[in-house]
Symmetry: C2
Subunit: 212 residues, 2 copies
């Protein structure tokens, strides 16, 4: 059932969880146009394996114990501009997706993906296309019109998620409370929310700030 021009898609799987790696290997084993030629359990290892085996496609987990997935994508993208990379995460926060695509990934999948979605994504991306599930595209679109937060605003948003009051944030950052209020106010406007609670939930949902 191969529609690809190449005989076989040679795959590199980078994920620090053995369970998931073998799951992927088993899933693509049934497809005769895809084969896993290398595995990696960390970011740095993934880059090494890429250089050594030159795969047609790389599946990259973003959150790994040894070596960041984002950095690995950037490194591979720097080595080969046209490298076909699909990012993988358990979580579908749009922050991760945006960063992964910016780093050079051409596809995005959550680990909740079905085998069909997985092989579909592998074929599309290896042929030079893009693959982002429609549900995730919708979330991404909501962020499009939104202004980006400044460094300070993002820092203060993080402290809001930590449950800190304006006065506490001022003391944390050693600035005046009035300054904090300005940043909070600007952040709320940029995010399009009414108050800090909505901002905190939004930040967590989209993966802008990790849950404390």
């Amino acid at each position: 059932m191969s529609t690809s021009s190449s005989t076989s898609i040679r795959l590199l799987v980078a994920d620090d969880h053995f369970l998931f790696r073998t799951g992927v290997v088993n899933a693509v084993e049934m497809e005769d146009d895809i084969e896993v030629i290398a595995e990696a359990a960390g970011g740095n290892e993934a880059v090494e394996q890429y250089q050594q085996h030159q795969p047609n496609l790389t599946l990259m987990d973003l959150r790994m114990e040894h070596g960041d997935g984002f950095e690995a994508i950037k490194s591979i993208h720097a080595i080969d501009e046209k490298a076909a990379i699909i990012a993988l995460t358990t979580y579908d926060g749009s922050e991760d997706i945006q960063r992964a695509l910016k780093a050079g990934a051409r596809g995005y999948l959550t680990k909740e993906a079905t085998t069909e979605e997985l092989v579909d994504a592998i074929r599309k991306v290896s042929e030079g296309g893009f693959y982002v599930p429609s549900a995730i595209r919708t979330r991404l679109a909501a962020r499009e019109g939104r202004e980006t937060l400044s460094r300070r605003e993002h820092e203060i948003l993080t402290l809001i998620v930590r449950g800190r009051s304006n006065k506490e944030i001022a003391s944390d950052l050693e600035i005046a409370e009035t300054t904090v209020k300005v940043h909070v106010s600007n952040a709320l406007r940029k995010l399009g929310v009414m108050d800090r609670t909505q901002a905190a939930i939004l930040a967590v949902r989209e993966g802008m700030v990790a849950v404390p």
Copy 2:
């Protein structure tokens, strides 16, 4: 390296993700005292498979498309009081853990678990013991001393996570705003937090309320 008295642990794996199921099958394949004798992709199917195959241990995903994992655990527990069940989730919110253990599970694992943790948990629980990772036990302990929220308080907490103001909540539930304030105040005290933002984050982190 089998310390179990039984020759082989017969396993039932219930999870709606093919990738994960095969991952588990592969992982335990290397262990000569464990074998997967049945698989299920949903809650109801899991109960059927349990009755048909009478496994020594059941791995049960809590969040499945077809049939709730909690209900399936309760059903199996009702059939066999001593059934060995390990609950599985991607997320480690303590609310899920508490509910799973209450339903009759004797173990808890996140899907981030290593193969070692998995087989360790399988052996311990099949021998009649309990298995809850120490990191998760710590989180569970924090909930111990806490008062439980009333139905109304929990309902209002959910609306707080939805970003609703006191006035909006009053309108949503068709009660006076003063009443809402009483419930909010009581909920904050019970949860041991200062304001609604901290309550919202806590509720999300512990899985008491799903992210909107």
